[in-house]
């Protein structure tokens, strides 16, 4: 089987410049989106020795260095889709570019794993849009997968589905503790490098990429109004708290 995992490189911490109203990305450490490492572990649990594990990411060329660490986890190939034409993509444009990457680089894939959300965006709508572009079935909030069935969690139920391929599975953040590096792959991780794919190779229609291809736009970023209380309790706070608990019948 060929198993694809999509991976996003995200800032570890968000610094927001209140004057320029922009996210300050300078001097911020970049990491692999933690939920994608949970998805990678589901892929890892499923794979046999003759299966191929392939990571696909989209981002600036600088993301390649962070992506190189994926080889320690046993990925056979890591691709970074990177082109100036891709910048400013919303979820729809991102899903389109990823679908072009998968069709070009791994046309005979069996399963695509994604994390349910990225810590810097959290829209959770890429899986559905990507499945639509690829014309394949998909499920989100997946908790476990084996070659017989898929289990996922909705707001109220655990649901079982028959396993089929090709399929796209978006994995819940509590499915497992995330993939761990493996000494077995250490040599690979020194020798292998992320392959950067630009649009000369990918040949995505630039009408559908980046800002051109985006169908939603951010009109402004606003700071939520925060009323700061002037009357904080500096003394006897614990006493008042205990009395309140008594009053409402808790103690």
């Amino acid at each position: 089987m060929k198993i694809v995992v999509t991976v996003k490189v995200v800032p570890e911490k968000i610094k927001f410049n209140k004057e320029t109203k922009r996210i300050d990305r300078s001097e911020v450490k970049m990491i692999l989106n933690p939920v994608d490492l949970v998805a990678a572990e589901e892929a890892n649990k499923l794979r046999n020795s003759n299966d191929e594990l392939i990571a696909i990411s989209m981002g600036p060329p600088s993301a390649a260095e962070t992506l190189n660490s994926l080889f320690k986890y046993g990925f056979d190939k890591v691709y970074l889709l990177s082109d100036p034409a891709f910048a400013g993509s919303d979820t729809l444009a991102t899903a389109y570019i990823l679908s072009m990457g998968i069709k070009k680089l791994v046309p005979d894939f069996d399963i695509i794993f994604q994390g349910d959300y990225s810590i810097d965006g959290a829209t959770g709508q890429i899986p559905g849009e990507l499945a639509a572009f690829l014309g394949i079935p998909f499920l989100t909030h997946v908790n476990s997968v084996n070659r017989k069935e898929i289990v996922r969690k909705t707001e109220t139920h655990l649901e079982r589905f028959q396993f089929i391929t090709p399929v796209l599975l978006s994995v819940s953040d509590d499915a497992n503790y995330g993939i761990s590096p493996n000494l077995f792959y250490l040599k690979d991780s020194i020798e292998k490098n992320t392959e950067i794919i630009n649009n000369d190779t990918l040949k995505a229609n630039t009408e559908f990429c980046g800002l051109n291809g985006s169908r939603t736009l951010v009109s402004s970023v606003v700071q939520n109004e925060v009323k700061t209380s002037t009357e904080v309790i500096k003394e006897n706070g614990a006493e008042q708290a205990a009395k309140l608990l008594k009053e409402v019948g808790i103690i």
């Binding site: 979820t91 729809l92 829209t123 849009e129 069935e149 109220t156 169908r215 736009l217 309790i233 608990l245």
Partner: protein, 284 residues
Amino acid sequence: MRILVFTGEYNNAIRTAKEISDDIITASFKQCADCAEFVPDKKITSFESGVSFIESVEEKTSPDAIFFSDETIIRESASFFAGKRRLGLISHSNKVFIKDGKIIGVVPGWENLSAEVFSLTKPVLLLLNAKEKITLNKKSPEIIKVDSSLLKFEGSAEFKKNPLENANVVIGIGRGVRKNLIPKIEKLAEKIGAEIGCTRPVADSGLIPLNKVIGDSGVQINPKVYIAFGISGAIQHMSGVNANYIISINSDANAPIFSVSALPILGKAEEVLPQLEEWIKNIS
């Protein structure tokens, strides 16, 4: 402006839609006799039936905008529908308003910031945070025939509800709490019959399980009293808190949580906790 609203377990999206338009059409992913104008003819178990339901109702009603309650199967169906039709989809909004004739969704983000997002395509598609069940006038719905799913549904089991949801008292743990204080807070919780919850960064650190996260990406709580230790009150967390009284303990006098607290206590968690224990012992 005609707005078509898809709901499921929760239906507060209808109220949000009514704030900006009088021409509202409702459709429910759940099969029910009186909750909406359109319902499916069979249980929707995955996106395929969901997308065919959206398409049929859209064709019958020609809406200017479609609002979706942000619940698993509805979000799956909406995002596949958006991809298939190449339409913009505004994600998990808290609020909606109209500016220069455009529908704007307010999407909560980090650091008490929100993005105001609009769509360039019609109909405007928008996911709305799903939280409440509201009461509606009874209607007899039109039943829509939906496609079967390729994904074969084998069965389901309702899981035990997270005890946080119905807890009478919840103690929240935020980043302002030192690691060694957590067992002591757990002891207090046990004593007063409270459930423990936390903010996402605390759960991400592995100190408290992920199913204890309160907020946008976690559980909605509805306690009588919420005691928040070392929680600043970021909107992603507070959106999950619906408490009669909030008691907050924070060492930052400007913590946003103070503005919504019945008792905004300025102080370090490690100092206030033993005092609180002592007072509880004395009073109860």
